[in-house]
Symmetry: D2
Subunit: 287 residues, 4 copies
């Protein structure tokens, strides 16, 4: 089932979000509140883009750390989170919906400069898996390393133009999955919250065929939060365009969290931000 | 924190208890009800004595399988449980109280023909650890492979005569631990349910310094259960001296489970059984 | 690259072959002599059929244990090998030819009552992988859990009639792989030694497109060995139809090992045995 | 048995030494040339001090990553090595001399700002282990997490004043070990190459009771190397005090490697460097 968080903004240490909050991702690995399972102990992963001020190459790939042990006991995850600082990163804790517990089934998935992570499932996946796999661009097929629906969704989106048009590709991917499921008599095909990043921008999607999607929240914009909570010092040092997107709120700070509406997506980018209450609708496009 | 189960009686496949019951040990690895934590995902282990009818050596050592992944996703554990049949076995799922997640910190612990497992903790363990380690028989010290209080308690008991007098050794071990804790100003030193087996007999202990011990139950004797539940076929094929001891009941069968009283222990052995409501009192013996 | 061994005959403990010989499989995990790599430390696995005399169900599935750590340090593998006795078993140590180190990429692979293991590789696998995956029976596609050529070969063979005609299916599988490789301009497509078992019989194959195959040996028949080596007691207690097939000899016993010829296969079954020097030729059948 | 490398100087990415050289540490994990074993696949670890220019706290602890899988297949190790840049770091690949394969038995070991790694063994360790453990400062005893001689040597050195006088503490530690071994009738007690760092300085030791120590080399000073090899560009961008200490040379560059003499130690520090051919003698100090 899974829980995840994505951050974009002023570079911070990963542990500020993964470990320190009252209901951090680590706490959610054992006591998730809004998910299908309270335990998310089938592996964890982080992906982070380097701090631009220290980058040594023009367009570096994001780095990824993935491990099959539960997040709460992963010392290496803790070490990394303490010493890595990043302006754009993903963190994910996994609860398997059937696929094996292995490193290649942990999120985030990476393809060149792209990161992808997912909470949810494709209903009746084993029934439609072959058809979906065959729809992946032949040039990309052999890059699929694991056996999850999550990774397959990523490769379908890549095949359907993710690198040029993220929302469009995701809409086409959903449409393809729902279409295949329908032909195989599988109801409620898609259940997903998804985060995508290319190194500069971050998209967050919330959608389900049954219109009852896994939880997803985004943080209130910094200026508003500063006014609401002058007592919180860190709000003064992060840039105004800093944003978090999370499966469930990391704490109880009043006014800090906003639900991403059903069947919609938002975009976070430096400066101009499109993550606000009137988000973009998500409309699947059948093949 | 942990949960465990011990079985003695007619040889059965391990999965009959570890996997099949409604509230099996596998279910308890994610949804324990009577423990400190609902999640017990810091490793798992089983120890089993061979089916005597097929034994190839006179007094074989029990076999042990221990792994650091959570029990719920351990395929090897499932495979073994399906194909191993044993008349006397231990199964344990771990929730660490501080010590590292590693195979040598999983239970059960083995020494020659002896098996030992534990739920609970020694309070202020890091404060008293050295003194306790020094009290272990020098000839045994280097056999200690892990860093848990559980394993150290086992080696203390071995040093204090476990192989000749199990209850006495456990009482002396508790006394030694409480005495050391007192000298270091540590309150409520001991918290434990412990199972011990030598290949023929099984002892179960429930004790805590604060007299508020971790949960422990034993199964009602078979003859009584048969009368209570004629509808349950398996009760007719197991021997009358068959007995289970569990951290928490594996299901809701009326009259099947009995709480082990505070500060007491019971003994299960072929034929004559000393596991009944008026159990033996457990009295720590200070050094 | 890998090394493996298969045994059929009088039930023995697995460790008699996996651990005890001078050049056991465990020794080969660090010091293989006839393979591409001396180190085979990318996981290990065993698959075994139960001892018929103790079977509890008519046609049980073989049990499988697979782990990602190197065989030489795997305590659970050692424990199991000590206590499992089987009349027909597989053991495999892995040296990856590219695919990730994960449990689902360890051999042997199992499908119902069938076991399969492989040493070698499909050349240019990423180039032909999609086409081969598409040729798998749609009803079986979703059962593929890993990313190895080895497992895909198994599923192709199953799709091509393995359950009815093992040699024929393997020949058709090789033909299909070579045909796809040729169309993609990949030379020397197939490199393989393969073992297959169904619970009663054991087939061993040795083949490569370039006619320079990975090493494979079978043991001399027991009667001949007994005459050659009257000093070896164990030869007197195993049945005359007992046979081993190995990637490389487990020791230096004179006259004990015979090379399986290039492009051939043999069959081991109770009583009538077809594993002898004039083995069956292996002729790929193009689709 | 193990192999290791230590680096001090201009900040570089870890993979420059761990992965890229012809006979990198990764190559040594399968094909070590000068060690007891060619395979060092019982875990790996790295410890690194942050790049001072980007440090966020005055005296930060070094970060440590340790994993039990073989280095050659560890994707996380590869990722980290690619993106971590450090002016002072340790890397170690393990070949166990008996102690279990677990994260707490991987090097480097850390205590506050100190790092320690070791190649070698204490002969007859199980015989002297208790006595040595009891010699550790009681305030430090419970910090020992693993079961290796290597870690125990570190804690003995800490107990004997490592934080104030590194060479003196190591000499006293060796003396204590040899003295205990002698009383227990164990010959050739100590076999070691050891690296120690405090965040600013790096010490390297080479010693064995039998005066036949594990291999250890240090790199020629940069100015000399530049003159010898004007063709190597990287030599022009690293500071003159840059130094490597390695179990075995990472490549065949003429004049680049110098053997650390038997029973001696050297010190690498910014500016003034004491790592040269006439190193300091190492004289054990008996207790």
């Amino acid at each position: 089932m899974c829980r995840w968080l994505a951050y974009a903004g002023t570079p911070i240490h990963l542990d500020e979000l993964i470990y320190k909050p009252a209901h951090s991702l680590i706490d959610q690995s054992r006591h998730a509140r809004l998910g299908v399972e309270t335990t998310n102990g089938d592996g964890a992963g982080i992906g982070w883009y380097p701090d631009e001020r220290y980058a040594t190459t023009p367009e570096p790939e994001p780095a990824v750390f993935r491990a099959i042990g539960p997040a709460w006991s992963d010392r290496n995850l803790h070490e990394l989170s303490r010493c890595v600082r990043s302006p754009l990163f993903f963190a994910h804790i996994r609860a398997s919906t059937g696929a094996a517990v292995q490193q290649t089934n942990c999120h985030p998935f990476r393809h060149h400069n792209w990161l992808w992570m997912h909470n949810g499932a494709i209903n009746g996946f084993s029934t439609v898996k072959r058809e979906l796999a065959m729809a992946v661009d032949p040039a990309l097929y052999a890059d699929i390393e694991g056996s999850t629906d999550s990774e397959l969704m990523f490769y379908l989106a890549l095949s359907l133009g993710l690198e040029d048009d993220v929302p469009g590709a995701v809409e086409r991917m959903i449409g393809l999955v729902e279409s295949a499921a329908e032909r195989h008599g599988v109801p409620d095909a898609m259940q997903m919250t998804v985060a995508v990043a290319d190194g500069a921008r971050l998209w967050a999607f919330r959608y389900s065929t049954e219109r009852h999607s896994r939880s997803l929240f985004y943080s209130t914009d910094i200026d508003t939060l500063r006014a609401l909570h002058p007592e919180i010092g860190v709000l003064r040092v992060v840039s105004p365009d800093t944003r978090l997107v999370v499966s469930e709120p990391l704490g109880d700070l009043t006014g800090a969290w906003n639900e991403v509406p059903e069947c919609s997506y938002g975009l976070v980018q430096p400066g101009e931000d499109e993550m606000r209450s009137e988000m973009h609708p998500l409309t699947p496009v059948a093949p």
